[in-house]
Symmetry: C2
Amino acid sequence: MLDECALLLDEVGYAALTTKEVARRAEVPIGTFYQFFTDKQSLVRALALRNLEAYLDRIASRLAAAPPSDWADAVDLVVDEFVRMKRTTPGFGVVDFGEVLAAPGGPAFPGTQRMLDEALENNVVVADRLRSLLVDLLGVAPGDGLSRAFVVAVEAADAVLKLAFRAHPDGDPDLIAECKRLVRRYLSDHLQ
Amino acid sequence: MLDECALLLDEVGYAALTTKEVARRAEVPIGTFYQFFTDKQSLVRALALRNLEAYLDRIASRLAAAPPSDWADAVDLVVDEFVRMKRTTPGFGVVDFGEVLAAPGGPAFPGTQRMLDEALENNVVVADRLRSLLVDLLGVAPGDGLSRAFVVAVEAADAVLKLAFRAHPDGDPDLIAECKRLVRRYLSDHLQ
DNA sequence: AGCTAATATGAGGAGAACTCATGTTAACTC
DNA sequence: GAGTTAACATGAGTTCTCCTCATATTAGCT
């Protein structure tokens, strides 16, 4: 079902995605669909969670296979893997780690929550995991604001990369390069 | 109608906003509503456009009233004004300049376009206008990549500030400070 | 006043998310 | 193997939203 959801997202986008069509393609009756997912948001959230795990697994593998010598290389690796998934993983281009639709202002409405790990932002999860991976590997004194710095870096990088993929189907190369510069510049402050 | 839309957005969020309720509160029959706006997206788009103009007007006024002496001050001013509008302008916290809902992957569906100046991203509009304001005022050689750098900076700042307001109703002060650092660091490359 | 074009209105059509009464299977007991 | 019960599966139907369009109303002009 998640697979069909991902393919459909690429075809029609989030707004035009219907639970009925996902169910039909996955050859599940609609009633069964609602035993697995409480609502449409929950379906997309599950896909985002799977994407997040897949991404972190890939990063961990690549870090283990070819440990980067310095921070700049590590940033490149992390950005490049994101770009690769945007290009190749169905649905990733539309939802990546989530946050497709949010209603932060108001009271809790059905399907209003943002997240995976309730009250914890997806990108915060990504930031925390990346931080422990990289801090272990490159041996940095875990400074006070490092955690926050990672969250900021991930949030900013995510935004610029999303822009890169809106500007060009395969991701505008100049914007991808600029994203790396942005992150390196910023993080170099926190890791002298 | 835009005013009522903005208030409702703060109350119930984007997902739960209904055209009927907006029309009812603005005391317009639903049919009349659809003479002004083609659909729900168009309503929110119009509000985003108004927000964008209001923001740029405020920035222009403040730049004229107290011209910043250097780039760091200019960045502070631009960020602080954004924060002020997030806090005070109804609806701004939910939609700011737009992009609430997007379906970039697929073919054109009703309400799928992203924005104001067709095919031109909102944040690109913001970046271009800010660039001309600041370049005039601070007299920088308009380097080659300056335009792109501004787009990247605006996109990144927007993302971090959105995060700051998800973390805290009034905007997490630490994250706001970190946003300024991020932008200053990055832009200092492009403006030696 | 009479006529025409523009605008205003809200009941209703189309369609999506989600439910729930009923049907089906599985597991366990004697 | 028959009987009982609990868990699961199903899809017609309910509710609610967006949006349309036939009709009513107004404004402008002769």
